[in-house]
């Protein structure tokens, strides 16, 4: 863990494209945000009829920089493989919108924002739900003058937002693509989130959530949270293929005692790198807020325990995709959503893509997945007469 340094969140100094709603937002928990800022990016052109907009919902640690170089990390957009000119989500054809979720730390209102009294929210930031995130996105879409989204797409927590969009605003969503997701966060997933949160709490630098006062960040705690979560994004096969049991450095001679701790195996060094790069771009209190939002999510429970009733009478066209080696959001959870949609009489497509890359597969170059997305969108475009 020694590699994890604390350079401070650089994104705080970066100005992100955004819109501020002075009338704020009433949250599901009963609290009200007096002002609400939504940071967003767009790609492609909105057509004259304003019918070609696609909202991309990001996952837990994603953001609005879907398909361009990230201003903070300098890395490519997190869905560059899928979104762009001539790509499955073709920006020559569609107007693609990415928005930082409410509670996030890339420009939208969240725990790192300054509240009306001039203080930073920190852990005082009200609990956010997936529905709150979606209602914030709805405000952005209205601000952009879009009455109906051609499609809403997202993986993992982004998929939860897609389901929420389709349930809450069926008339505003022509096509919904929940990828590698579920209608509720499972006990196992809540458990992993809790390990991450406890790691943050246990870091003395967290300082009860008021770490900004000293300029420190709980880098070790947040780094461990990321390492733990990152394991759940991969599969055993993927880890074996990438690292196996390979050692970082072989002992120089037989007499040298191998280090008991530290980066002995390659996989350890990989995870530590994941942890240390993550803390440079992500706010610990945001991590707490957003993981909680995922844990709260249970769309079926919100509809009297019957997921189908969330979608009854919907005219939205659905595509559900799962990945065979994803054990964080396994195929049966997507299939359960597909079956609920069947019960609701919805037009639903569903496929499991064969991949050994685990949950992360939805972010990676998976040709079958990309063909599926491209085909489904063009089929929907034909039905929408787009």
């Amino acid at each position: 863990m020694d590699q994890i340094v604390s350079p401070g969140p650089a994104s705080a100094e970066t100005t992100h494209q955004h819109v501020t709603f002075e009338d704020g937002l009433a949250l599901e928990c009963g609290a009200r945000l007096e002002r609400m800022t939504v940071a967003y990016r767009t790609y492609g052109m909105l057509n004259a009829a304003r019918t070609n907009a696609v909202l991309v919902c990001h996952a837990l640690t994603g953001d609005q920089y879907v398909a361009e170089r990230h201003p903070v990390t300098g890395k490519d957009g997190w869905w560059d493989v899928l979104v762009g000119p001539g790509k499955p989500l073709d920006t020559d054809r569609f107007f693609v919108i990415g928005a930082n979720v409410l509670g996030g730390c890339m420009g939208s209102t969240g725990p790192r924002s300054v509240r009306p009294n001039g203080e930073v929210w920190g852990t005082e930031f009200p609990p956010i739900t997936i529905r709150d995130m979606v209602r914030a996105q709805k405000r952005l879409i209205e601000h952009l003058g879009i009455a109906r989204l051609f499609a809403v797409i997202g993986g993992s927590m982004g998929g939860m937002q897609v389901l929420q969009w389709a349930a809450d605003y069926p008339e505003n969503v022509f096509a919904a693509l929940p990828i590698a997701t579920a209608s509720y966060h499972s006990a196992q997933n809540i458990a992993f989130n809790e390990v991450g949160r406890q790691a943050i709490f246990a870091d003395p630098d967290w300082q009860g959530g008021q770490y900004w006062r000293t300029g420190a960040i709980p880098a070790r705690g947040l780094g461990v949270a990321r390492m733990c979560a990152h394991i759940t994004y991969l599969s055993e096969q993927a880890l074996t293929r990438k690292f196996g049991r390979r050692l970082q450095a072989a002992p120089k001679d037989a007499g040298e005692v191998m280090a008991l701790f530290g980066g002995m195996f390659e996989v350890e060094s990989y995870l530590q790198h994941q942890g240390s790069t993550f803390v440079r771009r992500f706010d610990a209190n945001s991590y707490l807020t957003i993981t909680r939002a995922m844990d709260y999510f249970d769309l079926g429970a919100d509809h009297g325990g019957d997921l189908a009733s969330a979608f009854r009478g919907t005219r939205t066209r659905f595509l559900l995709v799962s990945f065979s080696s994803d054990w964080l959001f396994p195929t049966p959870e997507s299939r359960a959503v597909a079956r609920a949609l069947n019960r609701a009489g919805a037009n639903v497509s569903f496929v499991e893509i064969g991949s050994d890359k685990g949950h992360d597969a939805f972010l990676l170059d998976e040709p079958d997945f990309h063909r599926t997305i491209a085909g489904f969108l063009s089929g929907c475009a034909a039905h929408a007469k787009l």
Binding site: R317, L319, A338, R339, A340, N342, R343, A344, G345, N347, V348, S349, F350, V351, E352, I353, G354, D368, R371, T372, A374, G375, F376, L377, S378, G379, C380, A382
Partner: protein
Amino acid sequence: MSPEDAGVRFVAKNMRLDLRLIGEMVAPGARVLDIGCGDGGLIEHLFTTKGCDARGIEIDMALVTRALALGLPVMHGDADTDLAHYPDGGFDYVILSRTLQAVERPREVLRQMLRIGTRAIVSFPNFGHWLVRGQLLAKGRMPMTATWDRMWFETPNIHPCTIRDFFDLCAAEGYAVEQWLAADEAGGRAPWRRFPRLANLFGEQALFLLRREFVGRAGPTGFDSGGRRD
């Protein structure tokens, strides 16, 4: 189910027969569910030529991916287990093309089809064809023909039946046979379709249009009771 199992369950189809003959039976603009839809050829045909709201279920994941890549609404699923999740009367037609003989519980699948659809269209290869009978009689081995072309130990066709067997099942379950016909492998209508016993001998494929309630005799064919008597 493992991918290997799914592969074995896949039933090769003669799309020409399905497109033409089944297409003729479906009313324009109807809501259609095609079970075992393959890569969705019939769904596309019904959408483009008849403006149907057609969807599909397919067990073979590679075919599902292919259908989706073509922009067709198809869901990975199994006729034996997934039909229970559809609401009553959600479709005007539920189609099961050359798949009935490959499902685990054909009678239950038919019941589900006529629960979720007003009408069911079922096609299956006829095990009563003279070549099948002849081979079994002459050689004493499982028949191998153009239609029945897989060895007994690897065929997905675990529930073969004859045209007369199927009439009996419809009668027992109380389904009205609105239309039926026998065809050769290429989908040509057999001239003997008015004579069920001949159809059962010379038809390679059978195609039935069923309706949920049994309202009187299946008049147009004049087959019903006569077929069951002997």
